[in-house]
Amino acid sequence: MASLELKGVRKSFGSTLILEDVSLTLDAREFVAFLGPSGSGKSTLLRIIAGLETADAGEVWLESFRIDPLPPGERGVAMVFQHYALYPHMSVRENMAFGLRNARVPKDEIERRIADAARVLEIEPLLDRKPGEMSGGQRQRVAIGRALVKEPKLFLLDEPLSNLDAALRLRTRVELAQLKQRVDAAVIMVTHDQAEAMTLADRIVVINDRTIQQVGPPMEIYNRPANVFVAQFVGSPAMTLVPAQLAENGDYATLKIGDGTVVETRVPRDRLPPSAHFRLGLRPEAVRVVGSGEATSKAKVELVERLGERTLVYARLGDGQPITAEDQRDSRLKIGDEIALRIDGAAAHVFDADGAGYHRTGA
């Protein structure tokens, strides 16, 4: 059964269009991340689902009920806010009970749910404290607890990790993953952090420029980006795009780039539109620093970034085209070195003039 369904949602503020004709279906118990840069409309979409904004057009359905005409409190959704939005004058217990009291849940039932949530989130010792007396991580758990006790059909998380420091962010990521296993509801998380989306989500919805760019499981988004935006937004460092000419006929596209290198991709030739001009998409792992024997191209090193488990090399090809390559972890390269590169055509992506992506078949 579908959990959430968005049908043709449209929203503008004044004359500024924020969302254009967004449709989407979530499966039951699915964890979906809305990924996009700030201003992409992802938060607005979340707020429309929550009922904090009203869509200009379109419908929102949750488990076969149309919820967009309902006020936020009656939609069966719970939200964890970016800054937690805990009521500062209420204890943790009162924070969690507030929504249940408004919904006229019986007192002993409220008690039971709070006790359960507190146990699961390990916040039992905090129940009588106020938000001001807690750390950021504790507040985060309480915010999750407040959503949990409502036993919603859908959780909405608005940038849930953005206010935590790096160490806590990793820990909380693990906790969110565990939470997902425990709750019998779908989860939507809004984030601008692709690593968060990749690790947590069953499916990622990449949103940019008022509309959905691509929907799919994390590895599909990474391996088969639908367009240039997705290709460059997902993955770090960003994919290198190199202008290229279609070189010769064959089953697979063979492309020639500015410095003369010919790259034999595994992208079926007949999928491409009739044009000679494309862009070659190369992630660093598709461009390796090699000995001159196996090289396809030459380049000059501009910057070396040692990440520990691997080394990234920012270089320029003979025609001045920047390219990002990967070297082994103990790389001795330094700025100004002339290096030999091997471009792995099997891992390359092709983008047409409109930005649409084409990928190898299979994998």
Binding site: G51, L52, E53, T54, P71, P72
Partner: protein, 292 residues
Amino acid sequence: MTSARDWRGLLFVAPFLLLYSVILIFPLLRGVWLSFNQVDLFGDGHFVGLGNYARLLNDPIFGTSLINTFEVTLMIVPALTIIALGLAMALNRGSRNAAIFRGIFFSSAVLSVTIVTLIWRFVLAPDAGLLGELWKAFGWQPLPFLSDENLVLPALAITTIWWSVGFPMLLFLAGLQQIPGDMYEAAALDNASRWTTFSRITLPSLRRTVVLVVMLQTAAQLQLFGQSQLLTAGGPSGASRTAVLFLFETAFGRWELGYASAAAELLFLIILAVTITQYWATGRATAAQGGR
């Protein structure tokens, strides 16, 4: 918010707005209307156009009361501003002594005008007053502060300064707290003298507060009433009658409601004009300074 535009929101502001319309807006408009009519306690009014205003401009009593008002305002506002600024600078420190002094200088501000005048009547009175006793102790003739035409306005001014110094002092203290400490550190490193520090850092930083104090005090003193009514009843021979006292006597002594309304409107316009002029002038000065 879910509510695009919701009439129910009006319910929250309605109680205030209702009272506000009845008790302030309606009287404000009604006052303008009254000022164009001749109304007294008994008869129905009749429309006289600008007649009341013309009469006001030719009324020497009103003229004198306006001049008195301006004079006393000019005596009070600059002195009050300078004293309050000096006190604030001297007392802008964390010590316990400073806190006690702040308390002393603010204490009079919580008193009502009736208590203040009651106390000062027996400070100023030559026969039973503190100053009179002091003068006598030095073997001088006590000065008749409240019955001498030349002394009475200064006496009102001194009483008012004593009463009002606390509030502007607090405003200046708040302003001083806003000045970042590193500006003074930088000045100290540059070997700036006390005067340079004051004129180049403190005063420019307090510019907004000075403007606020002067504007608020001017508007308040142009409405000076209680001191004049209670200490001297406007005397001797009108030498301390202020504009609001004139209005009060005309309205609630002689019940010339239309005429008093015209005086009220005129005074309202004067206060508005003075305030706007001050605001405009300081705005221009700031712009000129910024343009250097």
